[in-house]
Symmetry: C2
Subunit: 361 residues, 2 copies
């Protein structure tokens, strides 16, 4: 099952390339007040540690726009300014050295204002993401959607989102500007998928993909995984942001889990653990929790099997880099396909953790 990635233009955001042959990058957004520089920097450094490659900050006012300059000095990944309503804030963010801008066509204002932003971005060689959200479409597009029959709503919304993006692509292209990234996010998964599919037929700009306002950790991760999984599997998507209510590091972890599940990019451990059933004779849930917690900081990709019984245990443990297959109150340690030794139940978690550390250091 090979995924053929859509051919897209390569767009540079600071030190990171989005699109072209570059790896699908992972990004997130800070949740602190942007003008609280120490808090925002601390959050970005955590995000960097989790593998975040581009970070975005809300710029709701001038203080936030000015803070970007100070924040940039203290971080190591490209910084994108998130702009809504006031185009002047985009100009100030550029002054502060933002590596990218996100503008929302639904609320940025008229053509003149957009043109002013584009000229300033072009001067500084800074890319612009046209970031459409189904929840904040231009009024006339929203009205158009509302006139659609209920059963046609999804399709109408997807089309309106694409139309919003295309209008703004037109404004940018008329000024000879082509450092463009596109996003088309809805909180409804099928609408999001359909919007990107339609857009893929209409342009070659790279896609920032995401399901917006996905929710809290489990339900939001599931919704994002379904939406981004389907899109990535169709070759759509050049950079990924998972939106979750809660700590932003979770967004980055879930993004890598999604990319890892499709074999696109791996970061950190992948634990293959059985659901357990009436056959299991060890406390597997406790072992999995302990292993997962203890190796959360491991960054190298490593596939670890933690299996409860003989049905799939030895098979999975053999396919993993390292693993244990349990039996009656004990288990067997496997490494790169070979049985290493038998271990008592009490020693299982500790032994596996130690071996993973040795393997990944």
């Amino acid at each position: 099952m090979d995924i053929t990635r859509r051919r897209t233009k390569a767009v540079q955001v600071g030190t990171v390339t989005i699109g072209g042959d570059s790896p699908i990058s992972v990004q997130s957004m800070t949740k602190t007040r942007t003008d609280d520089v120490p808090a925002t920097v601390a959050q970005i450094l955590h995000l960097e540690d989790a593998g975040c490659e581009i970070v975005r900050c809300a710029v709701p006012d001038e203080n936030a726009a000015r803070a970007l300059a100070e924040i940039k000095k203290q971080i190591h990944i490209p910084l994108v300014a998130d702009i809504h309503f006031q185009h002047k804030l985009a100009l100030e963010a550029l002054e502060s050295g933002a590596d990218g801008l996100r503008i929302n066509p639904g609320n940025i204002g008229d053509r003149k204002k957009v043109e002013e932003v584009v000229r300033a971005a072009a001067e500084r060689n800074v890319p612009i993401r046209i970031g459409v959200n189904s929840g904040s479409l231009e009024k006339e597009l929203r009205d158009q959607v509302e006139r659609a029959k209920p059963e046609d709503r999804r399709e109408a919304t997807a089309q309106a989102m694409v139309e919003s993006a295309r209008t703004h692509i037109g404004i940018l292209e008329d000024l000879g500007f082509d450092k463009i990234v596109i996003s088309l996010k809805s909180s409804d998964v099928p609408t999001t998928i359909q919007a990107y599919r339609l857009m893929a037929q209409a342009c070659g700009y790279p896609f920032h993909i995401g399901v917006t306002e996905a929710g809290s950790i489990v339900s939001g991760a599931v919704k994002s995984a379904v939406g981004l999984g389907v899109l990535l599997n169709e070759g759509l998507g050049d950079t990924v942001r998972v939106s979750l209510t809660g700590p932003p590091e979770n967004e980055v972890r879930v993004a890598y889990m999604i990319l890892g599940a499709l074999g696109i990019r791996r970061r950190g451990p992948e634990i293959v653990s059985c659901p357990t059933c009436g056959r299991c004779q060890v406390d597997l849930v406790r072992i999995v929790e302990e292993v997962e917690r203890s190796i959360a900081d491991v960054k190298s990709p490593v596939r670890i099997a933690v299996m409860g019984c003989v049905v799939n245990g030895p098979g999975e443990a053999t396919d993993a880099d390292i693993g244990i297959a349990c039996g009656k109150e004990s288990g067997v340690l496997f490494k790169l396909g070979e049985i290493v030794r038998k271990i008592s139940e009490e020693e299982l978690a500790r032994t596996l953790i130690g071996e993973v550390r040795r393997m990944t250091e």
Copy 2:
């Protein structure tokens, strides 16, 4: 974006139909010792409450097989016996009144043994799931996979899984038995997807879909959502089991989240909540957590928006059945697209919870 579901044969498992025009059903598996009848029944009743429609129990020995008769008397959903290694246990499970059998071609033994099981199942009109797992393929198929070049491993594994299933389909069909459900699970998502795609070209039996040994709650939910999301989006899958290490109710909840994300089936609340950013002026994370916790028992489908600011807040709140869009230390309650009233921050969660309860009772 309409999903065209693959046309499949309808197969009856007790009171539930798998395949044909029937809704995609949600199933799970108990994690108690099956011969501990009170514990197993208690877990199944919890599963029923969470929306589980078919339950499977491991049958590792005669005590487990016999216990099924007593368990069946106390539950309300079809009971499937999970058989490995010993075909005699399948016969005993049928004696106990199992509504379905799952056999693993990789370890059930030779043709004669399978035939014995099939005849007994046919007599009782009980369906058989041929449940292939990449971790427990027949030895010769496993050897065949191991001879493949590393880059061809996934494809070779998917083909071997399909071959394993086809051989057993042949045995069943030779005896005129066609109450067959197929599953082809790997812990590797692309392998799982490819196996079902190949199988879809080869038969019309309904599919039980799942990613095996997916892991613990978040990572396992993500892996399952990617795999099942891609398959369901392609119209493949008639019944779903999410395998997670941990309480089985989580498997059912995640299964409904996946089906809900694609608009296939809805159960319970869907919370659209923003990730928050530097614009948010209320403690949205706390509000979302409180709302989520307080309405976890709601079974009717209801779309609830909990939005932190004015960018997408009013738009999303309007699209939801009910929602709040927050501003500075306060918020606005929306119901079916209309603003109802302004609420202070302290009252936001409680008001929303109360309104959801009233709406869904």
